[in-house]
């Protein structure tokens, strides 16, 4: 008797479970209907004839929720002039959902996965949107860019079509409104102790061969020390990620941070495996030479950033990878206080066999995803116009970056400055107010990309020099689109990681001399055993398919 009673209880529990699952499944399939293309009933608050260069102003007061990446250096305040002035200008009140910067991606995935995302989801890097495409939670924005005259004008004016095409998924649509740059902004390069170079009668190197000579000369002067000890080896899947990245660029190949398993070979008109190319091998050989002759600290590939900087400050090394911020705020600032007469400069990325080039595709910034649910709103058109104005019009971009003329900034002859009493990123350390913290402008959620004049308007002198020189370089062509279908994507991901790991591990072993370079062919054979050819085949097939479909 008792036994039978218990059994029935279990059945009840099981049945309840099934009902629950069924309900959940029902919910998932329910909301798909409705023709999205008919926008005539979604015109609430929209402007009738909204054109590029025109001020957007909603015909009714509107309000949109936006995911807000809360940067601790300028935590969001409701008192920001940004919100107030934005409402005055556009009639739109933004309702920020604050997400700590530390875990922004995590919460974004969760909200999208749970169907609870706000309509505007900014700060999404190109490629990050792919994971959400198959769920249908993200709007195919390419279908609606006709509502965005400024966006289209900028894509056309700056010839960004190939970059935009690279965002297309296998259905030919794209799901992200990327940030657009007129010119690619370079990030990292080598920095060297110029006072030491001067003392030894050396000049700043411009090519990788000169870099080698300079290191060699420093080594002769200081035989017990390493001329070069590098960083950005921890908290990244690649060792010395920055160095590999700009050294690879000089060889015309993606390595380090920018590494991708597939590389477009323009001569053969097909994708090839990056880690097996000759260019990649040259990168490895170059570094092997530096390690072998003790010109680079072998710990460069494993040590923490802190340790690398400590060696620089203790004069145990004389060169280190840099970006303009680190150069000014960390190396130079600390060196000047600790080492008498120390000077450090960042060189424009030394030129290698590929000539004066920068890699393609760097003109897209992080941008905005739009939640599919936004399409159901009757003010959808107004929202797209608003996004177009704030993120893509010259006027909107200037507003987001600098704020209100004569209130937060002054401009004359193309030179922008915060007004007296306001500091921007330490420009006036004694100023009582800060453009980011107290006004909300130059906020990474709203202000990025734009014309070179605008982007460069906030550069410090070092960065200006560096960026101007880098902007002269020729950009390599962007990879042609090769979108994978979702099941292909899954298969590719399974092959992708082991291949990448094998490349990374063996790159390190070759460079450190733990594996002789004569075994390169064996290494390529190992890659083949890890499905290298199938992986590349998948991408080539996707490329062919996309081309055939008239992409």
């Amino acid at each position: 008797m008792k036994n039978a009673g218990q059994l029935s209880r279990r059945q009840i529990v099981a049945a309840a479970g099934f009902v629950g699952i069924a309900t959940l499944a029902g919910c998932g399939g329910g909301d798909g209907g409705g023709d999205g293309k008919d926008l005539s009933r979604k015109q609430n608050g929209a402007m009738n004839k909204y054109r590029a260069g025109e001020q957007f102003k909603g015909t009714k007061p509107l309000s949109f929720a936006v995911l807000h990446n809360n940067n601790p250096n300028y935590p969001a305040k409701s008192s920001w002039l940004l919100w107030k002035r934005l409402t005055e200008l556009t009639g739109v009140t933004l309702k920020p959902i604050a997400v700590p910067l530390s875990d922004y991606e995590k919460k974004r995935s969760l909200l999208i996965g749970a169907g609870d995302a706000p309509p505007l989801i900014p700060k999404t890097y190109p490629g990050a949107e792919t994971a959400f495409v198959s769920s249908g939670a993200i709007l195919a924005v390419s279908e609606y860019v006709h509502l965005m005259p400024n966006f289209r004008a900028k894509v056309k004016k700056w010839a960004l079509e190939p970059e935009i095409d690279s965002l297309r998924q296998s259905d030919g649509k794209y799901y992200l409104l990327p940030g657009l740059h007129e010119k690619a902004k370079a990030g990292y390069s080598l920095s060297l102790r110029t006072d030491v170079l001067d003392r030894l009668g050396l000049t700043l190197p411009t090519t990788w061969d000169e870099v080698y000579d300079v290191f060699k000369a420093i080594k002769e002067e200081y035989p017990g020390r390493y001329p070069f000890s590098d960083r950005w080896s921890t908290n990244t899947p690649y060792p010395a990620a920055a160095l590999f990245s700009y050294l690879g660029q000089a060889h015309g190949v993606r390595a380090g941070w920018t590494y991708l398993n597939q590389t477009w070979d323009a001569q053969q008109e097909k994708y090839v495996f990056t880690g097996a190319t000759d260019a990649y091998r040259q990168v490895v050989e170059y570094l092997r030479k530096l390690v072998e002759e003790k010109l680079i600290d072998p710990e460069s590939f494993t040590q923490t950033d802190d340790d690398a900087v400590k060696k620089l400050l203790a004069e145990k090394s004389f060169a280190i990878s840099a970006n303009p911020q680190e150069l000014v705020q960390n190396y130079r600032y600390n060196l000047e206080r600790q080492v008498r007469g120390a000077k450090i400069e960042m060189v424009t990325v030394p030129i290698g066999p590929a000539g004066p080039v920068v890699l393609g595709g760097a003109r897209l910034e992080n941008g905005m995803m739009i939640s599919s649910k936004a399409l159901d709103s009757d003010s959808f058109v107004a929202m797209m116009q608003f996004v177009d104005w704030l993120w893509y019009s010259d006027e909107g971009q200037r507003f987001a970056k600098w704020g209100v003329k004569d209130v937060t900034y002054t401009e004359s002859g193309g030179r922008y400055r915060p007004v007296d009493g306001i500091s921007l990123m330490g420009s006036a350390p004694d100023a009582p107010k800060d453009l980011q913290r107290d006004f909300g402008f130059s906020n990474g959620v709203f202000a990025y990309g734009g014309s070179w004049a605008l982007v460069s308007s906030s550069f410090g002198p070092d960065e200006r020099k560096f960026q101007d020189a880098m902007a002269q370089r020729k950009q390599l062509p962007v990879d042609p689109p090769h979108p994978l279908r979702s099941e292909e994507q899954e298969q590719a991901t399974l092959w992708d990681t082991p291949l990448k790991d094998h490349v990374t591990q063996n790159t390190l072993r070759f460079v450190l001399g733990k594996r002789p370079l004569s075994e390169w062919d064996a290494y390529v054979a190992e890659l083949k055993a890890k499905n290298m050819d199938q992986y590349i085949g998948l991408h080539n097939k996707a490329y062919e398919n996309f081309k055939k479909a008239g992409g």
């Binding site: 601790p72 250096n73 995590k106 000014v328 600032y333 600390n334 350390p429 990474g444």
Partner: protein
């Protein structure tokens, strides 16, 4: 002459053993204490000394900039208040529910006891996953309230089982006597069982409050506004901003100093309250866990 002087006098070998024991344990204490002392020292030290690796046991280049920056921020205090509120509410809720559940389970004559235990233990091995969990909390309307933090974690199965074992170890005769004297079930629990269970209750309060105090994930998931976040989320974000490559911060001494010891300051600030409470609860803590574990 060779006779032992007294039975109480420890033997030579035992004294040697105790000496070595003390020595080894002192080493263990030093090893475990050192990182913490070092952290405290770093939190008060100057940036240059920290970067040069000079700080060991005592602060060098005494500096309070990071503390000043953290303390002068309204959000910090509001979030600290939230942490206290969330911890207190969550701990009270958790204690009430866990005690009731554990007491019920400790009754061997209860019908369906196996199922009740099974339901609890099942959650130790299986969970619904992050997104269903989030959907549930959201559709119950708990988002942006303290209940989103307090309710989902109200019963920790491990704590439940420890408490259950403790209650089971109390002699049945006591409760029978109370029953004969006319106490109801709740009366027995409140007036007889709980006063006898101070040790385990104190232990559980400590377990729960420490875990709620340190937790950040629940609040991070279910809170949409900065002023609702606990201090753990605030400090976590501060660390990310100071150490991440994303922050194009200012070239000021301030920020440089903050980046150097924000982690140390954070650790000190979050562990301080727990450190203050610990000594007072600790005596229960030791006996409490022992009592629960070794019954009979």
């Amino acid at each position: 002459m060779t006779r032992r002087k007294s039975i109480n006098e420890p033997s030579r070998a035992y004294r040697v053993f105790q000496g070595i024991n003390g020595l080894v344990l002192s080493c263990v204490v030093l090893v475990t204490l050192y990182p913490f002392v070092n952290i405290i020292a770093r939190s008060f030290s100057g940036e240059r000394q920290i970067r040069a690796g000079e700080v060991t046991l005592l602060p060098k280049g005494f500096n309070l900039t990071t503390y000043q920056i953290v303390f002068s921020d309204d959000t910090f205090w509001r979030n600290y208040g939230n942490t206290v509120l969330y911890t207190v509410v969550s701990t009270v809720v958790a204690m009430v529910l866990t005690t009731c559940y554990a007491y019920v389970l400790s009754k061997k004559n209860l019908k369906g006891r196996g199922v009740l235990v099974g339901v609890a233990v099942l959650t130790m091995f299986f969970s619904g996953g992050l997104i269903p969990h989030y959907v549930l909390i959201t559709s119950l309307g708990l988002k942006n309230s303290v209940w989103a933090i307090a309710l989902p974690n109200a019963i920790s199965v491990f704590n439940l089982l420890v408490m259950k074992a403790f209650f089971e170890s109390l002699p049945d005769e006591l409760e029978e006597a109370a029953q004969i004297d006319g106490l109801s079930t709740y009366g027995i629990l409140l007036r007889v069982v709980l006063p006898l269970s101070k040790a385990v209750v104190a232990t559980m309060v400590l377990f729960y409050s420490v875990s709620f105090w340190n937790s950040w994930f629940g609040a991070f998931l279910y809170m949409d506004r900065i002023e609702l976040m606990p201090v753990t989320v605030y400090l976590r974000n501060l660390i990310a901003g100071a150490t991440g490559g994303t922050g194009a911060g200012a070239a000021t001494e301030q920020l440089s100093q903050v980046a150097a010891n924000i982690q140390a300051v954070t650790i000190v600030l979050t562990s301080l309250p727990i450190l203050c409470v610990y000594p007072f609860v600790q005596r229960y803590f030791v006996s409490g866990v022992m009592l629960g574990a070794v019954k009979g």
